[in-house]
Subunit: 427 residues, 2 copies
């Protein structure tokens, strides 16, 4: 192209920046803002006796809603794909690390109780959600009740995993029951979503739903989890042992992260949440495998993961807070239904805690299952896109009520778990 | 929208993946591939007595050129914005850590020698580049000679910084002279680019170049560096000391990374490379400031940075290798000019090593200044976009020769530095 004065002017002021515009510059500035906000708010939370993650969530809510009072400086952070990527990698590393703190044997020892908690925690909130919906939205059809029930049945384990770490409780039986139940919930969530959308679609077409394809989904998911754990148990110790033959100091970390990321991708590919794969990868690894590394003076894997968690994980929770639009709380039409859904969502998961049996603190397990996080939102988003006989299954008002339910169940969990654990210590 | 069978079919197979398509899944799979490739190739390099980074570069070259033999599985890694982001964050953390290993006082003690190395290392390659260009491209005008000279004057410090770390030599006087000269080169590069483009534009318009705006660029860049270091020296110790009052364990890391990223952004904003800011941030920090953290049992900052470097930095070097298109080596028309430019580029920087004086190994300094990396490519890209009297300043063939020069100068540096250091030990 022709070199004109207009083209050259900016070049003369900032030549390199204009020449090789670097999209990462805005991302790292956003990360710096997130680190400072998370540090300050986390400290306030800790001094108030709360888990640090509550502070990070609140910091995010404040940063994300500053445009409401005319401050737009931080709003681009919430929509920056690079920040979103760091956040998603963060929750993978968090679940990997939480999985690493337990073994497959320990998970199997609580397996039956996890299954019971998961099944109750899906069935009761689904029923309660249907009931609240039919009570407060008498004008809509059963498909909407079913969809609202489905959003209430979800469990988002990121918050609970982080709170358990903040409180130093991630190696307790309660923690393992919650994490196991959350993994099972992810499989059940796939099934419910497939059933509900399948039934609605069949009704819309006037045909019957295909049960064979539903069975295939569940079989595939369960098959993946079983295979991943079996293959992991066979391969992971050898992989880590081989990697100790490498002279480079980074072998333990490189092999572990590669395993975590690959399994996360496979889980995603099969239709599960990537964090399920990351958790499974952590589960099959055992700190004993890393003995050759620590024997030669390398840092243990926990110490290597710690700085990565510090660098990635707060980004996830601050961003989760930033995506909270406080304006949904201002609509009275939304708040009535939202109140009902919040009550149904909390009561339903507290009931699930009874599935954990008498040997552990059932209230802790129930509270740990409460947060819906992004999983509930994904369900509701699918409902927004479905129609039956020309009518929307989930209207924007109903969607806003679901958003309120997700926000409240997510925000009550850190103080709720803190209180539930403290109560047990006093008694 | 209406729910049709076609819309529903994929939903029934992978409901969650279809609903919340997760762009991070492909990124983490790419990261896993990069970690494994970097680990294997780095190990081969180390066993052959070479720095690990040479293996990472070669691994990248192989992955990036597999499409030439019909294997496309890895080619998306090289164009994935998320991987590029991780790579760019990686080189920031690398330069921050390298800066952290030196103090401002140590840098000032080699400052005069750095300045001399930088000035010689810009002037001699510029002159040699002009000479080679006028010899081999007699048909083109002086503006092309000037532009080729400018691309030869650049220095890309990422490779050298990494090799110095791989060899355990990053705390030597030679390392400090090289790093200081690279920072000065970045300012000189801004100046040369502004002068050359300004003169070409003025000639194209038939007017004289504005020297006041050129002076402003240099004044702004130098002013930024001086201000950043002075402000950093005043503020950084206090910031770190204050952050020790925080109860959370992540305060030292959060404050340090926030400082690194903010300064990198400011450098970018002023027109310098972000890594210059990251290096300056590391320079003003001193491990002594972190005493309160290590006293209470926290890991020292070096140990916190180490896993981050392992997670981010290999991505930068593998990606740098992937962006190498081996086809440019197949064009005889390109290779003649390229050979001349490589010779000019290497000799010019070796001469610059003499600016380091007799107290240090001048050959090590000269070899350390050789790599052109992405900075040379940015210059050449600007030339591709400039025309004078309707003719392109840099033709695609000339550009390919510059690319070959960049590849060769980058790839010879790891073995070259290893050899230069080894030679000294034997003598």
């Amino acid at each position: 192209m022709r070199l004109t004065r207009a083209r050259l002017a900016p070049l003369l002021i900032i030549p390199l920046a204009a020449a090789g515009a670097d999209p990462s510059a805005r991302v790292v500035l956003g990360l710096a803002a997130i680190y400072v906000a998370a540090l300050l708010a986390g400290e306030v939370a800790v001094r108030l006796g709360q888990p640090a993650v509550l502070g990070e969530l609140v910091a995010g809510v404040i940063l994300g809603n500053l445009p409401l009072v005319g401050v737009d400086a931080f709003s681009s952070i919430g929509t920056e794909p690079g920040i979103d990527l760091i956040a998603r990698i963060g929750v993978l590393i968090l679940l990997f690390e939480v999985g690493f703190e337990s073994t497959v044997r320990q998970m199997l020892s609580v397996g039956a109780r996890s299954l019971l908690v998961a099944v109750i925690g899906v069935a009761v909130p689904f029923g309660l959600g249907w009931f609240v919906s039919s009570l407060m939205l008498p004008q809509v059809g059963a498909e909407t009740h079913a969809f609202i029930g489905a959003t209430l049945s979800a469990t988002s384990v990121g918050i609970t995993a982080r709170v358990l770490k903040d409180l130093g409780r991630s190696r307790t039986d309660e923690a393992r029951i919650i994490l196991g139940a959350a993994v099972i919930d992810d499989v059940l969530g796939l099934l419910i979503l497939a059933v509900v959308t399948g039934v609605i679609a069949a009704a819309d077409r006037g045909t019957a739903v295909s049960y064979s394809s539903l069975t295939a989904i569940v079989a595939k998911s369960i098959g993946f989890l079983v295979l991943a754990v079996l293959a992991g148990l066979a391969v992971a110790p050898r992989l880590v042992r081989w990697s100790a033959l490498f002279r480079g100091k980074g072998a333990a970390q490189a092999v572990s992260l590669a395993l975590c990321f690959t399994t996360a991708y496979l889980a995603y590919w099969i239709g599960l949440a990537p964090i399920v794969g990351a958790f499974a990868a952590g589960l099959v690894l055992d700190s004993a495998y890393y003995q050759p590394f620590t024997d030669r003076g390398d840092q243990p894997l926990e110490d290597l993961l710690h700085p990565l968690i510090q660098a990635f994980v707060p980004v996830f929770f601050v961003l989760m807070g930033m995506h909270t639009d406080l304006r949904v709380f201002a609509d009275p039409a939304v708040l009535g239904l939202a109140g009902g859904l919040v009550a149904a969502g909390i009561i339903g998961k507290l009931v699930a805690g009874f599935g954990a049996g008498g040997a552990v603190d059932r209230l802790v397990v129930g509270v740990g299952m409460i947060p819906r996080g992004e999983v509930g939102l994904i369900f509701a988003n699918i409902g927004l896109g479905l129609t039956l006989a020309g009518a929307r299954v989930i209207t924007p008002t109903t969607y806003s009520a679901v958003v309120v339910m997700v926000i409240v169940t997510t925000m009550v969990t850190p103080p709720g778990l803190k209180w539930a654990f403290g109560r047990r210590r006093e008694s």
